[in-house]
Amino acid sequence: MSELQQTNPVPATAKWKIPQEFLTAKSATYCALFLPLAALPLLIDSSFVYHIAILVCLNAIITSGLGVIVRVDQLSLAHGAFAGIGAYASALAVIKLGVPFLLSLVLAALAAGVAAVLLGRLVLGLKGVYFVLATFAFNELFRMIMLLLPEISGGTNGLSNIPAAEIAGLEISSKPGFYIFIALALAATLLVVWMILRSPIGRAFDAISGNLPLAQASGIPPRRYQILAFTSGSVIAGVGGGIMAAYVGFISPESFTFWFSVNTIIMLIVGGRYSIMGPVLGALLLTPLPEVLRSTGQLQQIIYGVCLIAILRFMPGGVSGLIDRFAELMSGRK
């Protein structure tokens, strides 16, 4: 008994202090960057700016999910399908069962989670390449099943007239209301991801991606942690999909194709896959472009492709890698 107490010398009250790693130059830089930005739409108060800000938050949530999966060195090309599963689960629950919006998001998370565990158990034992091929095929399978079940999914026409989000009897269909809701949802997502990644689970993720045989030899079961990462990331995508359905009011199988997954990957790589804030930066940089430059769609896609390759080659940490380096310089560390 006394031995056990000795191994835990930290007093119980210390647990409730703000953890040390929160008070670094890095987090200070991000706060200085993002808190004013988050308040900006409320100050400008234009419906177009709200729209863009909502889409940025939505993409940041969905990309954060992929960020968790990539932590164990797996790339899911089924991220669109999981967002789709969440979107359909939540939209159907609201339309057919009259479930309140927040509960429908819980259902979206559940549906995506169950699907992810099943798929993960099936394919996560596979070597990297097969995993990618399997997730790619799953994304197609999802689209096909949705097209084959028009009574449920609405077929190619999709589901329209999804009711506006409502929380505790308060309709948040207005843009400022929805923006505040989704900004809070993004903050909650980031907090959850941060808590996962700084916990022993997150360290196991790092161990697996750093050196798989060594991790195995140290008693970390890689498959279990890979399924955990895959499931948590896909659940986040599912919740994002549910929020998306409520905001856009229309979903169809074509909303969640291979290219949905590709766009998520681009945001993650550009923003930075080694940082929790990377997905937010990626969404912030890449979401407004198509909305602002509607006319030059193809050129923009080509620029995305070039950026993707260039960042992989010369800046693997993405934009957040640059910011981290800046923060380290500011705090006087190398």
Partner: protein, 291 residues
């Protein structure tokens, strides 16, 4: 048309699809074997092969048969360039190489969209008329597509098995380290493997261009089917790929004829999922080593 003839016609269509998928899957496997990259741009090289065939025959007026080697040559040279500019730094880095190939797919597809526009282009068939085998009648153009694909695969087989270049590429695919101790220069062989692989995709695109149509979006389905063939047949197994692609082609053709194309695609995906569960290394694939 009698029911028997109808069944045979459907079988011929299935063989054509099988040949297309085999060309795609063999090229895909070769690229993966040499560069260790899951090439998401493979379908775009198929699409470019189709455009190359279109421009050589329709715009330049060359005979259809010349369009196939020209498409191969054009795309293989482009492949050499892409290997140097995009893939070489990521050699052996599966995750980043794969993401880079997605970037390349974006560039190629949207580049084609800017240059050629979104409208599908129709191409004249290789040959007019019908070929008769007793009571069975098959359009000559379709028969030619099968014959040409088989010929290209035979040439590819001879090159890979009986030439110095083929042996070097195979050695590099099997074990790069040992191969380089035998004096095979990776800097020469990797680009060759990549160019040959995407060249085969271009041949598939050129052969299929008269049967389907040519547009910037045609690459996605052959890419998906190549993936499924690879999953079914086993990555790296050419006989496995041959069996799997013929099976996929025939199943797709018959199911699509009787139950619709959506059911056909669904059935093949289901087969791939079952295969992943029962035999993750595919029909004839060997267990792959890690690292």
């Amino acid at each position: 048309m009698s029911f028997e003839a109808f069944l045979i016609q459907t079988g011929v269509n299935g063989l054509i699809l099988g040949a297309l998928y085999l060309l795609m899957a063999v090229g895909f496997t070769l690229v993966f074997g040499s560069l260790r990259v899951v090439n998401f741009a493979h379908g775009e090289f198929y699409m470019l092969g189709g455009f190359a065939a279109y421009f050589t025959t329709v715009t330049m007026g060359l005979p259809a048969i010349a369009s196939i080697p020209l498409a191969f040559l054009f795309v293989a040279v482009l492949g050499l360039f892409c290997e140097r500019a995009v893939f070489r730094p990521f050699r052996g880095d599966e995750l980043n190489g794969m993401i880079a190939s997605i970037g390349l797919a974006l560039i190629l597809q949207n580049g084609a969209l800017m240059l050629f526009g979104p409208m599908p282009l129709a191409m004249p068939p290789f040959a007019e008329g019908l070929t008769r085998f007793g009571s069975i009648v098959i359009p000559t153009s379709r028969l030619l597509a099968i014959v040409i694909s088989a010929a290209v695969l035979a040439i590819f087989y001879v090159v890979m098995m009986h030439t110095r270049v083929g042996r070097a590429v195979r050695a590099m695919v099997q074990d790069a380290e040992v191969a380089s101790t035998f004096g095979i220069h990776p800097g020469l062989v990797y680009p060759l493997g990549f160019a040959l692989g995407v060249g085969l995709a271009a041949v598939a695109g050129a052969v299929m261009a008269p049967l389907f149509s040519v547009s910037p979006f045609t690459g996605h389905t052959p890419l998906l089917k190549a993936f499924l063939v690879v999953v079914l047949g086993g990555l790296g197994s050419i006989p496995g790929a041959a069996i799997a692609s013929l099976a996929v082609g025939l199943i797709e053709s018959y199911t699509a004829t009787f139950y619709g194309s959506l059911a056909a695609d669904g059935l093949i995906l289901l087969l791939a999922v079952i295969m992943l569960v029962m035999r993750p290394n595919g029909l004839l694939g060997r267990a792959m080593r890690v690292g």
